[in-house]
Amino acid sequence: MLKALVIDPGKCTGCKQCEMACSLENEGVFNPSKSRIRVFDFHEDARFVPYTCTQCDEAWCQQACPVNAITTDAMGVKVVHDNLCVGCKVCTIACPFGTVNYNASTGKVIKCDLCGGEPACADACPTDAITYRDVEQSGYDKMKVWATRTSAGTESHGPNTPA
């Protein structure tokens, strides 16, 4: 049984606690621009969508890396090895989801690695819009879950809208 981040935009309030938790965990400061998860704000549609790497099975980033600096761990997580990354950025254009970003201050790329099994974003999310839980599904299915949750978000109201 693998664990995955399950994102339910219908529950997101746009508070960005996930971005703060992520940047503190990984950069040691509060800095959303260096967060590996980002909340998109669709103001006119009254929707907020947390967005990050789904640890997809295709592992586009890993395949594109010329120096093998991205590997898949036993939990299926695609991990960037800083000691090997040369900052060539090929993974950033290869990832069709746009979830690998270049960090100019370190010269390396950054992506979600689920914080080694304890994702800080899920821990910080006050509304359970981001949860980390067991999913008996392949990466493909994980993404389908993501997709349907997301599309459901177009209809559902906020987490705290009176029924």
Binding site: K16, L24, V29, H43, D45, A46, G158, P159, P162
Partner: protein, 615 residues
């Protein structure tokens, strides 16, 4: 360390941009945001200066917890001498702008002088530019936000801007950031307008660090748990928003209605939180779509609404068919009860326009209420109003007024003066529901006596956000007190005022105090900031701030005579509800309050007090 330690000083007259280190001695005494920026302001401007003249300054200030993971740590304030009141003004706002200022690396932006031509500021990390605003002068808040993001091709920019009303010196115009969060009161928007400063656009990519990250995480996590476990901040506010008060305050007989003629509004239910969540008869959808958090907020009380597309206000106006900031309690009260209007969609539209054009809905709605009374009393006629039948309860009149005032056209220009100047102009000053020329909000002191003292002594003119004794008197937070009693209220007001001043200086939202006390807040500040931040120190800082603001106002010419409520509240007894037969009795509480504060009977801080607090 919480603070970035850097401030920006922009001189619009000279066109210069300078940076300077934050005065850390002051930071230790005034914490940040409201307190610290007020310290800068009182040190740097003449209290008697013309609020709309070039010698006034306007400061955008964050708190040390702004831009951290502390719940609600995303606040900033706009501090200046207010044109509506002539008193010190400090308007607090949420959204994402404040945090972005910190990420750009700045604790404060001090704006001085006045530009010869319209300009806007861009602060992209260290790159700070004064730019020509010729293309956006005359545009609404929403248009300006869009224009700036497109012009700089960066959707991640956060914009604080004034609308047309700020350009036209509407005395209660706001600074609106992130489309519908506002530094709303006292006319801070008009100060920007007087400086020809249309907007401030910020994009920050840096980080905010804290003194002890481990302790900070622990303290903020504990704080978040308190908020989550508390029924008000964990369930009530996110679900119903502040609007849940509509029925509460109305039942309690403390709802100022039709310019204070009444204390209960028979149609309160129609414009309540409960009504916003009901499916509309017209299109089957509720007015309320969802709730939204400001940056870092784990409460998420913000309302996001969508107006019925077939409603007369937006028919054939698709530009208003999208979701945007919906009615909060104060707005619903001012636009609704104060004017007697019960059309929820019309109120939402008026609220949209207030956001779009940068109007404080409290002062606007209350001013319309006063104008309606002038009209009903025959003091002004449809000739004065340009054909608007300005009757209590008329949604059409309300929405027409908001359109005109936002653009400062026709009768809107008169409404833009605020109710004190408007009623004075027509010889009926007693019809203005103001203290220090600022309209009071949604709590009638006849039914909530503590709020009378709150309004009377508020340093920025009538306001609920300086000491929200409603929490205790009506809601039972932290303890229930009798709203109709005056005993003990002086102490209650002082305690709320000092604590609130401290919270307002931290970067946190005052709404946390429905669940948090300073016992919850001090550890968070202490883990983030240099120095030892205990509850006692926070309270001392709060009291110091309060006295500093008071001294500024005294120097600006305010005296004990200005600590008074509108005549109507003191003469005309409430007609219905629990307060039936009662008037507001501030006179009894004031001397006790002055005494508690260590002020003379003239409301002047004694030397002893000033020494004690090292003001």
């Amino acid at each position: 360390m919480g603070w970035t330690g850097k401030i920006l000083r922009i001189d619009l007259s000279k066109g210069t941009v300078k940076t300077e280190p934050l005065n850390m001695d002051w930071a230790d005494k005034y914490l940040g945001q409201r307190g610290l920026a007020s310290k800068y302001l009182v040190e740097e401007i003449d209290p008697k200066t013309d609020p709309l003249g070039p010698d006034n300054k306007v400061i955008f200030a964050t708190g040390p917890l702004t831009g951290t993971c502390a719940s609600t740590g995303g606040r900033y304030s706009v501090i200046t001498k207010g044109p509506l009141t002539g008193a010190i003004a400090c308007s607090n706002s949420g959204g994402y702008f404040g945090a972005e200022m910190k990420f750009a690396g700045w604790d404060m932006v001090i704006v001085e002088g006045a530009a010869a031509k319209p300009v806007y500021l861009t602060i992209f990390d260290d790159d700070v530019q004064i730019r020509d605003a010729g293309d956006i002068w005359g545009k609404s808040v929403w248009e300006t936000d869009k224009w700036i993001k497109a012009a700089h091709q960066d959707p991640m920019i956060h914009v604080a801007t004034i609308g047309v009303s700020g350009e036209n010196a509407v005395l209660y115009s706001c600074v609106v950031n992130d489309l519908h969060r506002a530094a709303g009161r006292s006319g801070v928007g008009a100060v920007l307008g007087s400086k020809n400063l249309k907007a401030v656009a910020i994009r920050g990519t840096g980080g905010v660090s804290v003194k002890d990250p481990k302790e900070f995480l622990k303290a903020t996590k504990a704080g978040k748990k308190v908020l989550k476990d508390n029924a008000v901040t964990g369930q009530g506010l996110p679900t119903y928003g502040t609007q849940v008060l509509m029925n509460v305050i109305n039942e309690a007989g403390a709802m100022p209605t039709r310019n204070g003629r009444d204390v209960q509004f028979e149609s309160a239910g129609d414009i309540s939180a409960e009504a916003m969540a009901e499916p509309r008869r017209s299109d089957g959808h509720p007015n309320l779509l969802t709730n939204q958090a400001c940056f870092g907020c784990t409460i998420a009380c913000g309302r996001i609404s969508k107006i019925d597309e077939t409603h007369y206000t937006v028919q054939n106006k698709p530009e208003y068919w999208h979701a945007s900031g919906g009615l909060e309690y104060e707005a619903a009260w001012a636009l609704g009860s104060a004017t007697g209007v019960k059309d929820l969609e019309a109120l939402t539209y008026a609220n949209f326009i207030c956001n779009e054009q940068g109007l404080d809905p409290i002062s606007f709605g209350a001013t319309v209420g006063a104008a309606m009374e002038l009209y009903e009393d025959g003091v002004i006629t449809s000739e004065t109003t340009g054909g608007i039948e300005l009757k209590f309860g008329s949604a059409e009149a309300l929405t027409r007024c908001v359109e005109l005032t936002g653009k400062a056209e026709g009768f809107g220009k008169e409404l833009g003066m605020g109710s004190a100047r408007l009623t004075a102009k027509y010889g009926r000053p007693e019809l203005s529901m103001t203290v220090k020329s600022q309209e009071f909000p949604a709590y009638d002191p006849r039914g909530i006596q503590g709020m009378g003292l709150t309004y009377a002594t508020s340093n920025r003119g009538a306001c609920h956000l300086r000491s929200y004794t409603v929490a205790s008197e009506i809601l039972g937070i932290p303890e229930k007190t009798d709203p109709l009693a005056t005993e003990g209220k002086a102490g209650l007001v002082k305690a709320f005022q000092d604590a609130t001043a401290a919270v307002d200086s931290s970067g946190l939202c005052v709404f946390t105090t429905f669940a948090w006390t300073l016992e919850d807040i001090a550890p968070q500040v202490d883990a983030a900031c240099k120095g030892d931040w205990s509850v006692e120190k926070m309270l001392e800082v709060g009291e110091r701030i309060w006295n500093m603001e008071r001294i500024f106002n005294n120097k600006a010419g305010f005296t004990a005579k200005d600590d008074r409520l509108p005549e109507r509240l003191m003469k005309d007894a409430a007609k219905t509800g629990p307060a039936k037969g009662l008037v507001a009795t501030v006179d009894k509480m004031l001397p006790e309050y002055y005494d508690l504060r260590g002020w003379t009977s003239e409301g002047v801080p004694t030397n002893e007090t000033l020494e004690r607090l090292a003001v």
